[in-house]
């Protein structure tokens, strides 16, 4: 146990070892996510052209020298829009996952710890929320609170939360029954301290694995909401919006912009899921 004084080279070597342990599919997924992350942070800066500058004379024009991915229905540069759209496309699902996880873990741990009537009550409320399809709830929310990423994300988080709570509650109950938890109770350690310092940290591998799987669902659902025009509002760039606005190209025999946005979504979702699965295997 020399982690504290590990040399930077050793840290690198350990990281490289962990990376290799992911296997070929896992390594590819990690690279994809790294690229997506860079696009999300630096996308607008990396974009070679203004993603929002229309030029209708170039609408649905194929790839050219300075525009390797061609132009969209308004003649905007597709590569630049993909890069600029990465941010909202990834941020939305991230928000959903963060909110659903925070609320779900809190609810699961509290109800697993207290048990009894509280646990039973929480479980039945969750069962009711469980019955609502996430996307329906999100559409309802945007109808009430107005279209936009925030309302849709919150609604999706509410819909996803029962999934999280159910899985984590089961794990929390198993952890709660372990004698080390009883030993801490006998010492007089408060319930909050036991949960935050011992119980939840031991659930982290499961929480991480759940998050990655949920991220994929959230990304597809949010893209669908944006496609329906209820999420991110045009002309802002977003992969879901790009599929929606370029669908007219498909009957015209020019599906490339919609297809590229779709590929971005699919590739990121697969990468996150593969990585989540690898992490869960090790959890």
């Amino acid at each position: 146990m020399t982690t504290a004084i590990a040399l930077p080279q050793e840290g690198l070597r350990r990281a490289a070892g962990r990376f290799r342990a992911l296997g070929p599919a896992g390594m590819a997924s990690a690279v994809v996510l790294l690229i997506a992350l860079v696009a999300a942070v630096f996308g607008p800066m990396l974009a070679p052209h203004d993603p929002n500058l229309p030029n209708l004379s170039l609408a649905f024009v194929g790839p050219t020298g300075g525009h390797p991915l061609g132009f969209d229905f308004q003649g905007r540069d597709v590569l630049s829009r993909l890069l600029a759209g990465a941010q909202s496309s990834l941020l939305g699902p991230l928000l959903v996952v963060a909110m659903a996880m925070a609320a779900g873990v809190l609810l699961a741990v509290v109800s697993a710890w207290r048990g009894g009537a509280l646990d039973a009550g929480v479980s039945s409320v969750l069962d009711i929320v469980f019955a609502f399809p996430g996307i329906l709830l999100a559409v309802l929310a945007t109808a009430v609170f107005g279209a936009g990423l925030t309302a849709a994300s919150i609604a999706l988080a509410v819909a996803y939360m029962p999934y999280v709570a159910r899985v984590i509650r089961g794990a929390a109950l198993r952890e709660r029954a372990r004698p080390y938890v009883a030993a801490l109770e006998v010492q007089g350690v408060s319930a909050t301290a036991i949960c935050t310092r011992h119980l939840v940290p031991n659930l982290v591998p499961l929480i991480v694995a759940q998050s990655t799987i949920m991220f994929g669902y959230a990304m597809v659902d949010l893209a669908a909401i944006s496609f329906l025009g209820l999420g991110v509002q045009p002309p802002a760039a977003n992969w879901g919006v790009m599929i929606s606005e370029n669908q007219t190209g498909i009957p015209q025999g020019y599906p490339l912009p919609a297809l590229l946005a779709g590929i971005c979504i699919v590739v990121v979702v697969i990468a996150v899921n593969v990585l989540g699965e690898r992490l869960f295997e090790r959890a």
Binding site: P179, Y180, A183, G188, S190, R197, P201, N202
Partner: protein, 285 residues
Amino acid sequence: MPSVTKSGQTRPQDPADDGAPVLEVTGLRKEFGDLVAVDNVSLRLPAGRSLAIVGESGSGKTTVARMLVGLERPTAGTIVVCGQDRSRPSRSARTRRRRGRQVQIVFQDPYTSLDPRQSAESAIAEVLRLHQRTAPGDRARRVAELTELVGLDARQARALPRGLSGGQRQRVAIARALAAEPRVLILDESVAALDVSIQAQVLNTLADIRDRTGVSYVLISHDLAVVRQLTDDAIVLRRGQVVEQGPTSSVLDHPQHEYTQLLRASVPRPGWKPVRRPGVAAGTP
């Protein structure tokens, strides 16, 4: 069964039984729904002495242990430790910690008794932080003392549980319990899961700890040889009730109740022949 000492009686004939008891239990009862797990159990533990609670599965011995440390709430009866009643759950964090400094427990399974993410040192230090306001330097010294007391070396003290054997993990659990400097340590089948050669080491260590700290043990066990080795007094539980109690040597050498006699006769030893008891087999559902 006229010869059985009734629960609740003190034993004035006991020479060591002069000081105030460190633990006194009267009329303890626990019901789970319709099932009476513990029924009118009384016991008395003088300071510095060790008591065995002997029984098989379903005897209620583990339920008694859990009530003693406050993990279960008694249906009826009183538990008094160091003159303070602890029959009801504590309201305040201070009371909880004070109770933690009176009675501690070591469980059976060394593999689930420790937080897998915590080294021995860190687990002990956490308990010390909880109970005492000491400078970090003093705390480190106390951690070293405790790991040394239970026979762990410096490498083992820094290792995570997965890097330790079953016996070493159980030593960590004992050190963590002792960190609160309890007056009573409950050993709930704490050596039952250990290999024979390791069990002997841990039993020797427990004897040393008692000599050095004056802690009293309550040993919950089905193993009469371990009971003989570690305790002064014993009570025998069957289906939640005390069927026999007295000094360990007389309970084992001259068992009065037929159940104690049966327990004693069931222990394999050289020349032992297993016996089949017709009719007893039908007892379980």
